[in-house]
Symmetry: C2
Subunit: 321 residues, 2 copies
């Protein structure tokens, strides 16, 4: 047995209860899973690279949470129920002081969402993680990006902007002295994927996406795929009191809310006739939701604040920039 | 639209015919696929890191082939039919001179095996690739590692050892002058996953594995999972004439055959009563297979050559060593 296999055995195998639909997990050439009749499989892949998505000295438990939560968030945005995850870990050498807290946090979150690690790969190289999560959803109900229609209302979950403020702190330790700096740093790493909200939206929302690159970058994906436009009342963007205190000014907080990536909140659209049903379904999830605007005909993308068109220069997140 | 999305659009989207079971590929939060009733999903993940699994200046077309072929080989080892692949690409900057030949080769091999790219991620960082392939197989017939019984015969496909010789050339350019050096280098990169063989073995072989770390490392996975031992007649290991010429000596060629990793040939076990059926099924695939030994009671792992126990010091491949 090689060191590579010992590492997998020690940290990854036998850490979770076997799901009934998992016929074979680690230990063979492939994992083998079963899909209930009538459901389809939703699949998403995300990579996190040290130095690009997290600092190399970041708390490994937080990195684990961020990696898995961001991936589960893609399932949430489809309304899918999390089921299985494959995990490829590349690291310079087997670093047990890093792996132990990483795996504890990884399995804690995986267990919370009932998602089983079914396989992966460990390789030598610069630190990075690639996860492929899979979930189950009725295909006719799945929340896609292409279903929004003119007149639908646009909602977001939670508060927006905190993740970007947390990233400011991570990248500039002098900001630690600002109010709520450590809370915002934690929010950057420790988001909660909106799985229950996504499921509550099935059959009610017309389109959904998760906010990973910033609302200003992600909402246009819905608009493009649905061939529609939007009008957003920026004053309606939900911002936390902590964010306003941190940036020191409500207008800057709204700029953060528009551009903050890695929020892992959902943005979704709701036909007028489903508004009542959605608000009551979401009340059961205990999730905060805010109506921020309305779908308009294709070609419009109107952001306004207190009746004036925005003239801010904004952009979302691009790793290659 | 960010550069990240342009890259995906330009090189990865719309390059293939849509499979009928793919409801949604790139362009949403998740891909969405359907699984026929009665079949289960086989899933495997592999990472290739520049500097660990290939040299940074390796031919990008060959790297693409190696990455996808090695992953499809895991499906072959389960007897699964390839269906979908997710691809996470990390690179220092968008390098179109690398991406264009990489993608051409990637889609050529994907199309050959009818496997559709359904999603992935592109991120900035040191060059590496993580693929998650999925295939379909009847769960009661899937080729697992845990089904070998005492008395079963042990087979391998193809020739063994060429990949290691190719790696020698890659790591030491002075060996280019040796006979067949460039052929062996190509064999290292351009293996053919034994998908048809895997399917022909369904219901006939008792266990299977693909040779990725070297026969001497991979066969023990079958033995351990099946709680059996083995006796191998090393003189029966299939080696190419090119390998013998390259290493200059038949005995060294056999050492290569035992330890060569990244072969992506199959090693499988066959109950005596299925030998005739298997040999006739495999004749239809046009695949070379060799019987190299027999399953024995647990605790034995006997390698012999011309009647003598081997006293070679051998080991398989471990990235962390």
């Amino acid at each position: 047995m090689s060191g590579e296999f010992n590492l997998i055995e020690k940290y990854f195998v036998g850490r979770q209860q076997q799901r009934k639909d998992v016929l074979l997990a680690a230990g063979d050439d492939c994992a083998l899973v079963q899909v209930p009749q009538g459901l389809s499989v939703a699949i998403s892949t995300d990579t996190l690279v040290a130095g690009t998505h997290f600092l190399p000295d970041a708390n490994p438990a937080w990195v684990a949470h961020k990696a898995l939560a961001s991936n589960i968030s893609d399932l949430a945005a489809m309304g899918a129920t999390p089921a299985w995850v494959s995990f490829a870990l590349t690291m310079p050498e087997p670093d047990e002081a890093w792996l132990a807290p990483f795996c504890d946090a990884f399995f804690q979150l995986a267990d919370y969402f009932g998602i089983q690690l079914i396989g992966g790969d460990t390789t030598k190289g610069p630190l990075s993680l690639t996860l492929t999560v899979q979930g189950l959803v009725a295909p006719e109900k799945a929340l896609r990006r292409d279903g929004a229609s003119v007149g639908d209302w646009i909602y977001v979950t939670g508060d927006l902007g905190d993740s970007k403020a947390g990233l400011d702190v991570i990248l500039n330790r002098e900001l630690e002295r600002k109010p709520f700096a450590s809370e915002l740093e934690q929010r950057h790493y420790l988001s909660t994927p909106r799985v229950l909200v996504g499921q509550a939206l099935l059959g009610l929302a017309s389109a959904a996406i998760d906010i990973s690159d910033g609302l200003i970058s992600d909402l246009p994906h819905i608009l493009q795929r649905s061939q529609v436009g939007a009008s957003i009342d920026v004053s309606k963007l939900p911002v936390s009191n902590e964010l306003v205190q941190f940036v020191g000014n409500p207008e800057v907080a709204l700029q953060y809310a528009l551009t903050s990536g890695e929020e892992y909140e959902l943005c979704f659209t709701v036909p007028e006739q489903n508004q009542g049903a959605i608000e009551s379904a979401l009340a059961h999830c205990g999730a905060k939701v805010s109506c921020i605007g309305q779908i308009r005909p294709q070609g419009t993308f109107d952001l306004h604040l207190h009746g004036e068109a925005l003239n801010w220069s904004l952009s979302g997140y691009d790793h290659f920039k």
